[in-house]
Symmetry: C2
Subunit: 210 residues, 2 copies
Amino acid sequence: MVRSNNKINKGTLFVISAPSGAGKTTLCLKLLKKNPDIKLSVSFTTRKPRSRETNNVDYTFVSKARFMKMIDKGEFAEWATVHGNLYGTSIKRLKELNSAGYDIILDIDTNGARQLKKRYENAIYIFILPPSFEVLKERLVDRRTDSGEVIARRLDNAKNEIACYKDYDYIVVNDRLDKAYRELESIVVASRLRISRIDPDKIKKTYKIK
Amino acid sequence: MVRSNNKINKGTLFVISAPSGAGKTTLCLKLLKKNPDIKLSVSFTTRKPRSRETNNVDYTFVSKARFMKMIDKGEFAEWATVHGNLYGTSIKRLKELNSAGYDIILDIDTNGARQLKKRYENAIYIFILPPSFEVLKERLVDRRTDSGEVIARRLDNAKNEIACYKDYDYIVVNDRLDKAYRELESIVVASRLRISRIDPDKIKKTYKIK
């Protein structure tokens, strides 16, 4: 069998987006911690690391020059400018994780998800929402790491992102973390039971059918 | 909005099949017990009730004459002959459960599932498998309610049913009941998060988007 170069076929690619403040990062980290067979595709970015962020764990932090060179070489499955910084997903990284048999989480914004959909049709697209606009606002203010101006810009952006919810296969509303986590995990568990993930030869052998 | 007469649109229709001895009934009963918002569509049948079976709970037991009349009137979404007995799903019953907003479980054989697929494209088709052919055989022998001849016929039938697994969306292997139940429930939970189940007006209102 010829394996297509760019396809994710040995595991499932989960593309997860959310307006900032929806709790996406917490949910994804919990999923990764509880499921060693799921790996995060670490994005490249030109933005400066925040305190507590680690290179090649949270992001791969690169210079703008390096990032532009990667664009020129066609090394990104998607890339985008968010709040003035560049973010991108390496095709090579996705291929490597897939070849190793992992399910992959891609934590990206709605623009990135739209680009990925053209290339990875069989991926599962999940959108995480806060329970309401008011709660989203509160969460962004409580974070206290960003200036008022940044918060206002994030809120504007959040509305635009939420308006893209129809591009996704599943919607998880994060009103209670444990409930939202259970829902996210159900999507992952169910995806592994899909007929596309079943090996026909194994079925034939196990049940003695032709 | 005009509601289509035959469509399941207010909940999800889960069509569940399995070779006999796979543990389908146990799994479905557990799902129903734990989820009061899921209802079983009780099939009509011409076969005699087994001990412990209750009319209109396990099946609606009817005469062959009555069943043939229902076929003539086009009252079945699917019907089939299994082991010499007639089994059928009432269109009216599905419509009533759907109108009341329930998710519906339809516990039927592979022939029935194939007929339903033509009418209910958006239903979710789940196939439950025993861990192996050997285990299936053991389970059918252990049951002791059937004669050797019946067991042999069921085993032949089981192979034919298993060969239809590709008609289904999801495969659940029932090697451990708790694991299989968790998987089945994940399919149900995930189905409720699908974009097709989301009300666009509610999203607009909750997040103040246009």
